[in-house]
């Protein structure tokens, strides 16, 4: 694994005309294209067949690929993930869906022990090409057990790769990369982004390599690292700050494992200030990890401490207004950036 990646501007990876499609549609396209490309690729999960998934992500796939490759399961997360692990050992490439990322706790042994460690425990004799799709984050009143952002937990156990796409183009390109990856990938799709539209290359070969951060907005005065739903809010905050004389650079790591720390450090060396924004709870979140790595590598480039704007250390209330109060708003990012720039 390498943690050095190439920063790109995200959408300029195809010479063909980009269409504007939704994040959901982009994921659906990635699944269909990869299943067409490689007949070993198959899917299982709850309600992914006839219903097309509770969020509609797998619509049309049962009709095209049939019931052996698009399989509805019972409510049995340990089988969905553990079965995928066993199916990977037998030469197939399972892409499984847990209806909510929160359910990774119901399949914790299978995710953190079997997917993450089987290869290692057995001397590298096996690969574990499993993708676990995990609808993540707040979506509007889904409650404390259906709204969490758990990507940091996935980062902490060695052996798992972690993708957090923030745009339709990255949702498609990262999912294709995940399916082609021989290692297990936890793929955190943000539920609040499913309806967001953006340009996506037509090409079947639009694959976004893991470990390559995207500079969502270039800037010179302050670096903001954000993922998922927070990328758009960080860019919106940057637009508000520009007229006030603060030119913010927004970096979206796109994958947290591997993490493109080089692009983040290079940015901080230019801007001398770093703010990390994430929807997940603050304590021991990935913002703390990025802050630690940056101060280890670029301490003398920093003109101010690394700050974080994060979700609250609380379960998420079910009320849609209250839950928004638990995650960073654009205003929260603006306020923090102004204070940080003034240090």
């Amino acid at each position: 694994m390498t943690t050095t990646g190439t920063a790109t501007t995200g959408t300029a990876t195809s010479t063909e005309t980009d269409r504007v499609i939704g994040y959901s549609r982009a994921i659906n396209e990635a699944l269909a294209e990869e299943m067409r490309r490689d007949e070993r690729v198959w899917m299982m999960g709850q309600d992914i067949g006839r219903l097309g998934g509770v969020f509609g992500l797998t619509r049309g796939l049962l009709e095209e690929f049939g019931p052996l490759r698009v399989r509805d399961t019972a409510i049995n997360e340990t089988f969905i993930v553990g079965g995928a692990a066993g199916a990977a050992l037998a030469g197939t490439v399972p892409v499984v869906e847990l209806q909510f990322a929160d359910f990774l706790f119901t399949a914790a042994d299978e995710i953190f022990h079997k997917l993450a460690k089987w290869r290692y425990m057995h001397g590298g004799q096996f690969t574990m090409p499993v993708v676990v799709r995990l609808p993540s984050g707040v979506v509007g009143g889904a409650g404390a057990e259906h709204s969490q952002s758990l990507e940091t937990i996935a980062m902490h156990v060695a052996g798992l790769k972690v993708a957090v796409p923030a745009t339709p183009a990255d949702a498609k390109g990262l999912l294709k990369a995940a399916i082609r990856d021989p290692d297990p990938v936890l793929f955190f799709e943000h539920k609040g982004l499913y309806r967001v539209k953006g340009p996506v290359p037509e090409s079947d070969e639009h694959v976004v390599p893991f470990g390559s951060a995207r500079i969502a907005r270039p800037g010179a005065d302050l670096t903001v690292v954000a993922t998922g739903l927070m990328v758009d809010r960080a860019v919106a905050a940057a637009e508000q700050l520009a007229p006030r004389g603060i030119d913010v650079e927004v970096i979206d790591p796109r994958t947290l494992v591997p993490l493109d720390i080089d692009t983040i450090v290079a940015s901080v060396e230019r801007t001398h200030r770093l703010l990390v924004v994430h929807e997940a709870s603050r304590t021991a979140g990935f913002g703390a990890e990025i802050a630690a790595q940056v101060q280890e590598r670029a301490f003398f480039a920093l003109d101010a401490p690394v700050w974080r704007v994060c979700g609250t250390d609380t379960p998420l209330p079910q009320d849609p207004e209250l839950e928004q109060a638990c995650i960073p708003s654009t205003d929260d990012i603006v306020t923090a950036a102004l204070a940080l720039a003034a240090i």
């Binding site: 066993g86 037998a90 042994d109 001397g123 052996g159």
Partner: protein, 306 residues
Amino acid sequence: MEVYRQVVTIRFAELRIREHVEKEGFGGFWHPGIGQEGLQVGAVSAMQDDDYLYYAHRGLGYAYAKGMALEALFGDLLGRRTGSTGGKGGGTVHFADASRHVLGQGGTLGSSFVMGAGTAAASQLLGDGRVTVVFFGDGASGRGTWHEAALQASVWKLPVVWICENNGWALSARFTEQSPTEHVADRAAAYGMPGVVVDGQDAMAVHDVTSEAIDRARRGEGPTLVEAKTLRIRGHYEGDRQPYRDDPVLGDEIPDDPVHRLGEDIADDVRRGIEAEARTLVEQAFDAALAAPRADRSVIFEDVWA
């Protein structure tokens, strides 16, 4: 005759490991499978070469019967570079051989239920005609993973065979205190699959019921639960004094010893020849494993990623 050769070889391997544990103050845990070799070989001998195996943690009989080299198995036990895991094993649990379709084992009991069902789902998808055999103990039969795996395997008619080695003990817990029914196999009915009880000390009887279950799975008729009744001769691990046990600790005595049972029909001189050969094979493999280099610290960074 081949079954006898394998069972005797495994018995000598079990005894050689015990000797090592007792004399060398072995730092790991060895869960002896002594006395259960007959059912292990009996069942595995019903498998084809390219069928998939998930073994249980008691003994190495399954893996040897499936074609793994003794030296690799001993190498894993001893933390040697020549072990099948390249030195990261250092115990008894995580040996594997992809070329022999021995898929390894997890450290959490019962995890093979769901993985085995998934492997069988892959075979069904690929149409490769392979059957997956999953061994487990009566202790692991308590895991909820059993329910999810058995349910899905039965609904999808997956080519998988579950084999419970019921030796009556889950560490310090008696099976009779852990199960509302006399047999684990009774649970098969709830999943619409056959549940078969067989004498686990009778290798050939286990072979026969396993063959039938494997044939059924290969025909696309779904899973079978086989329960082989056996005995736990030694403790949970070698060195366990079993203070919790209120019946006589069995020690070296193996009631209804599967080795003796298989040997009964073999002429004395032939039997002695097989035994001498097996003993030599075990000694040579153990010595070779002992002489092999230990893994150094660099191995800890290997194989995290493909």
